[in-house]
């Protein structure tokens, strides 16, 4: 049995009556990685996590942790932040944390010590004797996160951990997760906020309607698309959207070779995709000759996670992308409809 296999899902399938929630999903979460599970609402993220936690039993396929069937892995190995948050509302915060840690086999004195330490750390030193229901939503969420990590699980499964958190608490949680990872813990979290995943994760899997579309290390997933982008910024005093500059920008764009497509306009420049053999040199030349100002920044970049996600979904299910944009689950993703 190797020690670094982490979590492995092989051919996992789960159907509820005629609805196939998860269909033949295979991916690996290496030990010590921060893994992003991406998908729109109803993609099968929560079902997948529940199967890992053995709340649900797969119809087919196997799930193993460090080579052992998850059914046989001790429960305290896992820490879970359910998407539907829930604690005993009437219990005092300190008691509740010690109780939940106790269920994960942490002795009560040790649990007490850790709970006090963590409440201090997340800025809730006074919450100990207060009922959970008396705390604000954001603070309840912090307590919920602590409930998932207090027993120092080897594998944390966090379902949409950032939803409902303000920027400051988001920052605190991110730091906490990175710290856990640096201590060798494995973290899986599901999200549809792609920027965040991009920032934190080293591995990702994209699922859509129960099917796995992409999976692997983030850098590999990015490279494997073969897509290339150029980000350009010009020195312009008052922004590109002002009248005069808009015309200049238009002139520059028309001067570009035919296989270069604008994907996004920003205040000082544009993001362009290079298609069918167009090169960055061609773009640079055009920018130097026809740009609305001198070049401030010129960078050849890989696709963002969002672009990868949308392209992957679009390839599998073209109608779905528009739907996702309309629902607002993918902010600012008009990309493909223009391209």
């Amino acid at each position: 049995m190797q020690t670094n296999t982490g979590l492995e899902l092989r051919g996992v399938r789960k159907a509820f009556r005629s609805l196939v929630a998860v269909d033949d999903v295979t991916f690996t979460v290496p030990s010590g990685s921060m893994f992003g599970l991406l998908g729109a609402n109803g993609a099968g993220k929560t079902t997948t996590l529940r199967m890992v936690l053995t709340i649900l039993t797969p119809d087919a396929g196997t799930i193993t942790w460090q080579g052992t069937d998850v059914e046989k892995v001790p429960r305290y190995t896992f820490g879970y932040l359910p998407e539907e948050r829930g604690l005993y509302p009437k219990m005092k915060t300190g008691e509740e944390l010690v109780f939940l840690a106790g269920l994960n086999d942490v002795p009560s004195d040790e649990a007490t010590r850790r709970a006090r330490e963590w409440l201090q750390k997340v800025g809730l030193p006074d919450a100990w004797n207060r009922r959970v229901e008396e705390l604000s939503k954001g603070n309840q969420q912090k307590v919920q996160v602590l409930a998932a990590i207090l027993h120092d699980p080897q594998l944390m499964l966090l379902d949409e951990p950032f939803s409902g958190l303000d920027p400051i608490n988001t920052e605190v949680l991110q730091e906490t997760l990175l710290e856990r990872r640096s201590e060798g813990r494995t973290i899986i979290f599901s999200s549809h906020r792609l920027e965040q995943v991009e920032e934190l994760c080293d591995h990702v899997a994209i699922i859509h309607k129960g099917r796995l579309l992409r999976a692997g290390p983030l850098s590999e997933v990015k490279r494997s698309t073969g897509r290339q982008f150029v980000e350009l910024a010009f020195n312009i005093a008052d922004g590109l959207s002002t009248n005069g500059h808009a015309q200049e920008l238009q002139r520059f764009l028309t001067s570009l070779p035919p296989h270069v497509v604008k994907v996004e306009q920003r205040s000082e420049g544009v993001r362009l995709e290079l298609l069918d053999g167009a090169t960055s040199d061609q773009v640079l030349q055009a920018a130097m000759q026809n740009g609305p100002g001198s070049i401030k920044r010129f960078e050849l970049v890989e696709p963002t996670l969002q672009e990868i996600f949308i392209a992957a979904v679009a390839a599998a299910d073209p109608a779905a992308v528009e739907q996702l944009v309309k629902e607002g689950t993918l902010p600012g993703s008009k990309v493909l409809t223009e391209g």
Binding site: T57, P82, E84, R85, G86, M91, G102, L103, A147
Partner: protein
């Protein structure tokens, strides 16, 4: 199964419940109610002492006076001419009947009007055989008073008529004494003595009521507790850490112990109240019931059937509770158990009077009925030595089966939100989960 997990759940369930203000208030109100009940006889007799009905009897021809008894509690036996004219008859603590010191109805009428007397009775007629008792009062006599008067005066009149017919008091006694009835064992057999039989009957009755109330109060609480965990969504967290069966067992025992705590408070107050009542002589309840003489084996069965009965019904409540997601729905889905419970209760009350009926014998092996019926049989009848053992084994088997099903439903029910599932869906879920 991890005992540590069960203990954690159990302790949380117990502590949270006992600390809950509603629980504390309920217990205190119960204590007050029971104290009131225990002191009720004393209170009633105190109140009655304040409100005594006084009735005098006027018997111008001395037809029945010689046959009135000296005091209550003794069967009216004729004691001709031995009663002093002023002797009072205290029939109950609230009613005094005396012979009148005057036959003047004008005087008596004034006494009634002034409130010194409630009323007076005139014996009209010249012979006991055609005597009429005429009651005079400001108000019609109440039911109790009429009944007392009729019984007392009627008995005396009967005696007087017998005398008129020439039958001596001795002859009358021989004629009217009821033949003796006794119960003897068959040759070589033994019978429970009457006192312990009555005590057993009482104990069975207590178990019936205790089980019944426990089911209704704490069974519902088990179901409610499950639903609370679902509606607060903490369930998903719990079942990832521990097994549903551990959660369920801890919960059932924890709630059961909280219930026992409440009972203990009530029983203590009740027993103390009765003891105080006996001490001040207002109740003779303690004297009837000398629980110290109940055989140890009966106490053992009492506890065993109470615990097993609770476990059986509580596990059913838990299973059904996990099928719904809102506390308003609990009553609806647990109705079947309540109906079963009421049926079991009514049947058991009947069985109490006929512990040897064939139906009782067979049904005492049905797990739902075993706690009550088998207890009735071991207390009041003599089942073969193996019968309780088999019934208990079946009961434990049924508890294990229901606990297993409940834990299964628990596990899938936890993830069922919204619409209540049909039984087909439950069946399907049980197979797939």
């Amino acid at each position: 199964m991890n005992v540590r997990h069960v203990r954690l759940i159990l302790v949380r369930e117990y502590v949270q419940r006992v600390r809950n203000p509603a629980f504390v208030i309920g217990t205190i109100l119960g204590v007050l109610g029971i104290a009131a009940l225990a002191f009720l006889p004393a209170i009633i007799s105190f109140l009655e002492g304040q409100n005594i009905s006084k009735v005098v009897v006027v018997d111008p021809h001395n037809l029945i006076f010689p046959y009135l008894p000296k005091d209550i509690g003794v069967l009216p036996t004729p004691q001709p001419g031995s009663l002093p004219s002023q002797s009072g008859l205290s029939l109950s603590s609230g009613l005094v009947i005396t012979k009148s010191d005057t036959a003047d109805e004008k005087v008596l009428g004034q006494r009634v009007n002034s409130g010194a007397l409630t009323g007076y009775v005139v014996v009209e007629g010249t012979r006991a055989s055609n005597a009429v008792f005429a009651y005079h009062g400001k108000e019609r006599p109440g039911a109790t008073l009429s009944a007392r008067l009729v019984a007392l005066l009627g008995a005396a009149a009967t005696q007087a008529r017998l005398r008129e017919s020439g039958i001596t008091p001795q002859q009358a006694q021989t004629i009217f004494s009821s033949p003796q009835f006794k119960v003897d064992p068959v040759q070589g057999g033994t019978l429970k003595d009457e006192k312990s039989y009555i005590q057993s009957q009482f104990l069975v009755y207590v178990l019936l009521i205790l089980l019944y109330i426990t089911m209704l109060m704490y069974g519902i609480q088990v179901a409610m507790g499950v639903v609370e965990e679902k509606s607060s969504r903490v369930m998903e967290l719990l079942i990832t850490a521990i097994r549903p069966v551990e959660l369920m067992i801890g919960k059932i025992i924890g709630i059961g112990l909280a219930g026992l705590t409440q009972y203990m408070a009530w029983v203590t107050v009740g027993v103390a109240g009765l003891a105080v009542g006996s001490a001040i002589g207002s109740t003779s309840f303690g004297a009837i019931l000398d629980l110290g003489s109940v055989p140890v084996l009966m106490w053992f069965y009492f506890l065993l059937f109470f615990v097993l009965g609770y476990l059986l019904f509580a596990s059913m409540y838990a299973a059904l509770g996990s099928l719904v997601s809102k506390s308003e729905e609990v009553n609806g889905i647990t109705t079947p158990i309540t109906v079963v419970m009421v049926g079991v209760y009514l049947f058991s009350i009947w069985a109490l009077g006929s512990p040897d009926a064939v139906a009782v014998k067979w049904l005492s092996f049905v797990p739902f009925l075993t706690p009550m019926l088998m207890f009735i049989r071991v207390s009041l009848s003599s089942p073969a030595w193996w019968e309780p053992l088999v019934a208990i084994a079946l009961l434990i088997g049924a508890i294990a089966l229901f606990a297993w099903i409940a834990a299964k439903i628990y596990r899938v029910g936890v993830l069922l939100y919204g619409k209540r599932p049909s039984f087909r869906e439950i069946g399907r879920l049980l197979r797939t989960a």
